[in-house]
């Protein structure tokens, strides 16, 4: 069985992120890393492999970490390999810089196709969203492009025979959703804590193969991706003016509650 897990390299969310003058995200001054939400995707891919390989059939499962991003994004692939993925594919091409979600999903979909994971008993696993763009649309778009089921926002995941089954906590209901493989699966941060790479895993990762592909390898015309091909455009970005310091009181003998209620009343909340 083929499992492709999509991993994104993002600026550290705990750092001070900002925009460049051209409306792109400043990636120079902030360290990058594997998007935290994609760690859950790697974890689920590994758990599915462990479950299937322990099963009666003794399935042969290959987990491939797929990343689209600049040179330094290979860090995200390496982290996935250290966690336990078997091999990596890094799609890197200058033309990709500044791609929007539709273009990103195009590159991912074509890479999945080249890996043969859009057919047969295959699964594409994604995190629910990136921690930078945070749109949460790419897994659905990849599924749409490949024309295979999108079993998304899973909190509990099982794979048996040709079926992937999830629990999905929707806005108004908790649903059980099933799809037949091949399928795109996306998982939330409730799907299970991601493992830390072990020393053994870190050492083993050094020997695992990582292929580098360009757009040409995927048969994608460079004009279909990048900032100039984007289907939406950022017109302006502005930093929020620093908040004026609020009023902070210390509670002494019940004075805190009184001051709090006074504040809420002054703002007409009570």
């Amino acid at each position: 069985m083929n499992i492709v897990v999509c991993v994104k390299y993002v600026p550290d969310a705990t750092a001070d992120r900002r925009f460049e003058d051209d409306g792109t995200v400043d990636r120079e001054d902030v360290d990058g890393l594997l998007s935290e939400l994609d760690e859950y995707a790697v974890e689920q891919a590994l758990q599915i492999r462990e479950h299937l390989e322990d099963g009666d059939g003794g399935d042969d499962v290959v987990v491939t970490a797929l990343c689209v991003g600049p040179e330094e994004a290979s860090d995200a692939v390496r982290k996935a390999l250290q966690m336990g993925a078997d091999n990596g594919v890094h799609v890197v091409d200058d033309a990709i810089a500044g791609s929007d979600a539709p273009a990103t999903s195009l590159v991912l979909a074509e890479a999945v196709r080249k890996l043969g994971a859009d057919s047969g008993r295959s699964l594409v696993v994604c995190g629910m969203a990136s921690t930078d763009g945070g749109m949460g649309v790419v897994p659905a778009m990849v599924s749409e492009r490949l024309g295979i089921p999108g079993v998304t926002l899973g909190t509990q995941i099982t794979v048996e025979a040709d079926t992937v089954r999830i629990r999905r906590d929707g806005e108004t209901s908790a649903d059980t959703v099933e799809g037949t493989l091949p399928a795109v699966l996306s998982v939330t941060d409730q799907s299970g804590e991601a493992r830390y790479p072990s020393f053994k895993g870190i050492m083993a990762a050094k020997k695992k193969p990582v292929e580098t592909w360009s757009l040409a390898d995927l048969g994608i015309d460079a004009e279909r991706v990048g900032a100039t091909a984007a289907w939406s455009v950022v017109e302006a970005t502005s930093a929020r003016p620093p908040r004026t310091a609020g009023h902070v009181v210390t509670d002494e003998d019940g004075s805190g509650a009184e001051a709090l209620v006074g504040f809420l009343a002054s703002k007409k909340f009570v």
């Binding site: 969310a13 599924s143 289907w231 502005s238 929020r240 609020g246 210390t250 709090l260 909340f269 009570v270």
Partner: protein
């Protein structure tokens, strides 16, 4: 006036179907861009139609839910794509507006691919620029930046966050038309095999509430003071990731980067330190109040008003005082 398609989410109101507040906000926003057409999945319902008319729906498409419900996301995207195509014969809709929820965003993503259109999610405002193009505002990077953007290709597909507009009444004709969607097998790949309605807490929905009161590590697992204070204010209850990870509160109530983003009129953080992940989920709240024992907690950098103190004493006392005020006034 060009048509603006609005996907209407219906909510269960004690067995009856009701138009949710986010849909009324979308209709209000749609009127700035053109003539709103409401898209409702399910059988026609007089009360639902009446509400949609009252909030400005010039047209109401009702769609039989065979082949739509029962599957995840894809059939709804198919339905909207077919409506966009049909309108395309008359110049195309000015935009498609959807709620920026997990499902709404996925529908938007699929619709964008199907129709070759640009999409914008998590918009907190939508206006119309001089040549009629919808212009969106988003708040990103934990609310530290505001981004103005627009779609440059196809039919703008825009997912709008709840609480981004105040619903305004504006009667419109609301011509009801049944639209039958043809759902191809490819869109039936993700089957919903069981569905359990969410148990209602009886409190407002977190993402829609005007006031949100959240509890964190500082509750020590006891959410009662947070809940009682919330109920006194008619507020929704949220929780920090620390509280959710500890199993003290359900994940559906988590506010933060990996939970829900809220943007209420008033946000009260009880026993929450204010880690960046939490800030990402609440920083665009209009007024922020925090109660925390630790005077060094980063949350105090965000507040309009803060109390350094134990939420277990401050919140119950405040609850009592508000109750007394109301009683006195009433």
């Amino acid at each position: 006036m060009p048509e603006v398609l609005v996907l209407v989410d219906l909510v269960d109101d004690g067995g009856a179907r009701k138009v949710g507040k986010p849909a009324l906000e979308l209709l209000t926003i749609a009127r700035r861009l053109g003539e709103p057409s409401a898209v409702v999945v399910g059988p026609p319902d007089a009360d639902v139609a009446e509400t949609l008319k009252r909030y400005g729906a010039a047209r109401i498409y009702t769609v039989p839910d065979t082949d739509v419900s029962g599957y995840l996301v894809a059939p709804k995207a198919e339905l909207l794509a077919q409506l966009v195509d049909r309108a395309g014969q008359e110049g195309g809709p000015a935009a498609v507006l959807l709620p920026s929820t997990g499902e709404g965003k996925e529908i938007a993503g699929r619709l964008a691919v199907k129709t070759g259109s640009g999409l914008i999610t998590d918009a907190v405002d939508v206006t119309r620029d001089d040549d009629g193009t919808p212009m969106t505002t988003q708040s990103v990077f934990a609310g530290n930046f505001t981004v103005r953007a627009k779609v440059t290709r196809g039919t703008p597909v825009i997912a709008v966050k709840p609480n981004s507009a105040t619903p305004e009444e504006a009667w419109a004709e609301g011509v009801v038309e049944e639209f039958t969607v043809t759902v191809p097998d490819a869109a039936k790949g993700a089957r919903i095999t069981a569905s359990q309605p969410r148990q209602s807490s009886g409190r407002p929905e977190l993402t829609e509430a005007a006031i949100v009161v959240s509890g964190g590590r500082g509750t020590g697992g006891d959410f009662e003071p947070v809940e009682r204070f919330a109920d006194q204010l008619g507020a929704a209850v949220g929780a920090s990731r620390a509280a959710v990870d500890a199993g003290w509160y359900p994940h559906s109530c988590q506010v933060g980067q990996t939970g829900k983003t809220v943007s209420p009129q008033l946000y009260v953080a009880g026993g929450i330190s204010g880690a960046i992940q939490h800030r990402a989920g609440m920083q665009t709240s209009k007024t922020i109040v925090a109660v925390n024992k630790d005077p060094e907690a980063p949350v105090f950098d965000l507040v309009d008003f803060g109390v350094v103190g134990d939420l277990h004493t401050v919140l119950p006392a405040a609850t009592e005082q508000i109750s007394a005020r109301r009683h006195h006034a009433g």
